[in-house]
């Protein structure tokens, strides 16, 4: 499965993610870096004097619980993609066996 083009694609993604980390190395949330853009938009709205009229029914009680749920979300996705691609890969190698390749 591993081919050079796929590795290049993933390497490019890694570079895109690493560049900002290197650019702002040593700076953190306290200096205003790496916060979420959703939250930044919320702050900008509150600056206009708007009061949110409804709040979330349930919020993750801590950052740990939030990262648990995010990891769960990604894991569900990864299991499904892995399962289907594995199944397709198996089908393909069966087909190749039959045709004597």
């Amino acid at each position: 499965m591993a081919d050079i083009k796929s590795i290049i694609l993933l390497a490019l993604v890694a570079i895109i993610v690493i560049i900002p980390l290197a650019m702002y190395n040593g700076l953190g949330e306290d200096e205003g870096y790496f916060g979420g853009s959703d939250g930044a938009a919320g702050d900008a709205i509150e600056e206009t004097g708007y009061e949110p009229w409804f709040s979330s029914l349930w919020e993750p009680p801590s950052g740990e619980i939030e990262s648990l749920l995010f990891a769960l979300q990604a894991a569900i996705g990864a299991i499904i993609i892995g399962y289907v691609f594995g199944y397709y890969q198996g089908q393909a190698s069966e087909r190749n066996k039959k045709t004597g390749k």
């Binding site: 796929s6 490019l12 900002p20 870096y33 959703d38 938009a41 206009t48 990864a78």
Partner: protein, 233 residues
């Protein structure tokens, strides 16, 4: 691109719900029709949904110094059409609104419009447009088409969010508000949209290699492309 719970006046919440509901309903009908006509495409539908699940959970740093996440909506839009991608986005947005306090139930309609309708529709248009130009019949041409589809699907999702917020909060003027929200969302998103483009090509190439027959049945690629893939692989 999540507009937080309660952060839109109720009139806007209602309006975006009215836009989103018919599209999602049509998407459900489309899913039924596509899977009836072509049961073999079901696993790819699952992959498209799973791809949205993964990508929208990854909050990545951007060169602007803030973090945001890709959307993953381009793949589903190209494979199954924008309405089906709306359904996939709606599922993820409900999950995130209820369990993660990202986005919200009141703003769900607005978030479906950006991530589930405008983004996928743009992705689908870009893909169809590039394929229609038909400059080449090789597999890499389809890969380039899907790269741009995913890029615009992601980026226009965020431009839509900025527009929605500028419309709801035109303070001091609509133009200035638009620039303010574009700076927050759209600049940050450019490198992430490029990353999403690469990841979508990565997944798409495997599908093209393993099951080009399903892609042909869904009219995503043409038989000529399949011949060139075979010749190479």
């Amino acid at each position: 691109m999540h507009i937080m719970e309660g952060f839109l006046p109720w009139e806007w919440c209602l309006l975006w719900y009215l836009v989103a509901i018919p599209v999602v309903a049509y998407g459900v009908i489309r899913i039924k029709k596509i899977t009836d006509e072509n049961p073999e495409s079901k696993p790819l539908l699952a992959v498209s949904g799973a791809f949205v699940f993964i990508l929208s959970s990854l909050k990545l740093p951007s060169v602007t110094g803030s973090c945001s996440h890709p959307t993953g909506n381009g793949l589903g839009a190209v494979l199954f059409g924008p309405a089906v991608a709306s359904v996939l986005a709606a599922i993820v947005l409900v999950f995130q609104a209820l369990l993660l306090a990202h986005g919200g139930i009141t703003t769900l309609g607005a978030n479906i419009v950006s991530m589930g309708i405008v983004g996928p529709f743009a992705a689908w248009l870009v893909y169809k447009g590039v394929m229609k130009l038909n400059l080449s019949t090789s597999g890499w041409y389809a890969s380039i088409a899907i790269f741009f589809a995913a890029f615009f699907g992601d980026w226009l999702t965020y431009v839509t969010t900025a527009t929605q917020l500028a419309l709801a909060f035109p303070i001091p003027t609509m133009g200035e508000a638009f620039i303010k929200f574009i700076v927050i969302f759209a600049y940050t998103q450019v490198p992430l949209a490029i990353a999403e483009g690469f990841l979508t090509v990565f997944i798409f190439r495997y599908i093209m290699k393993l099951r080009p027959d399903i892609l042909e049945d869904l009219k995503v690629i043409f038989p000529k492309i399949r011949e060139t893939i075979k010749a190479v692989g």
